[in-house]
Amino acid sequence: EAGVTQFPSHSVIEKGQTVTLRCDPISGHDNLYWYRRVMGKEIKFLLHFVKESKQDESGMPNNRFLAERTGGTYSTLKVQPAELEDSGVYFCASSQETGRIYGYTFGSGTRLTVV
């Protein structure tokens, strides 16, 4: 079984530019989550999709972040325009269960550096 795939693994962009991160969950997993870890801090929840619907986007920091999951398969997270404080590691995770947390499968993360 293929795992959760994230692309790119690293991205370095200038402040003000746009970056799009992609996550391919495990096939058949309806639940897809985005998390972020800013340097030295805890991993924080950004949002949760169930299929193509946003179930919970309470962790999205501001309207510069836009997440989509068209067709309920892969998801993208766009940051536009990027700011220095957006630097960090962005994790994606997926799970099959709904309504109970059995533990996710995480991707390797995308390390975003905004300079």
Binding site: G3, V4, N31, Y33, Y35, G40, K41, E42, I43, K44, F45, H48, V50, Q55, D56, G59, F91, A93, S95, T98, G99, R100, I101, Y102, G103, Y104, F106, G107, S108, G109
Partner: protein
């Protein structure tokens, strides 16, 4: 607000030493508890989890954790660490009242000296 606290940010041990990493959470309701590990260059992996029943749970690679409800704690233990246990360890709490998001602690970096 709910939070998870990992008291040890950086731990250095020699091989064969015993390990205990502390984790406390603040939430009065029912929780699911997890420990994740991230080995250098790899993705986050589930070490073990607690949902209900026996508060002593065993995970992969000889790790175990004990849920003490009265102390809001879920400490991770291993009797004898190996060099290959060098990694970052994350405690996480899932609240049954929400849709599945996890609240993570800040992580503990474990360095095991051969």
């Amino acid at each position: 607000a709910q939070s998870v606290s990992q008291h040890n940010h950086h731990v250095i041990l020699s091989e064969a030493a015993s390990l205990e990493l502390g984790c406390n959470y603040s939430y009065g309701g029912t929780v699911n508890l997890f420990w994740y590990v991230q080995y250098p260059g790899q993705h986050l992996q589930l070490l073990l989890k607690y949902f209900s029943g026996d508060p002593l749970v065993k995970g992969i690679k000889g790790f175990e954790a004990e849920f003490i409800k009265s102390k809001f704690s879920f400490n991770l233990r291993k009797p004898s660490v190996q060099w290959s246990d060098t990694a970052e360890y994350f405690c996480a709490v899932g609240l049954l009242s929400n849709t599945g998001k996890l609240i993570f602690g800040q992580g503990t970096t474990l360095q095991v000296k051969p």
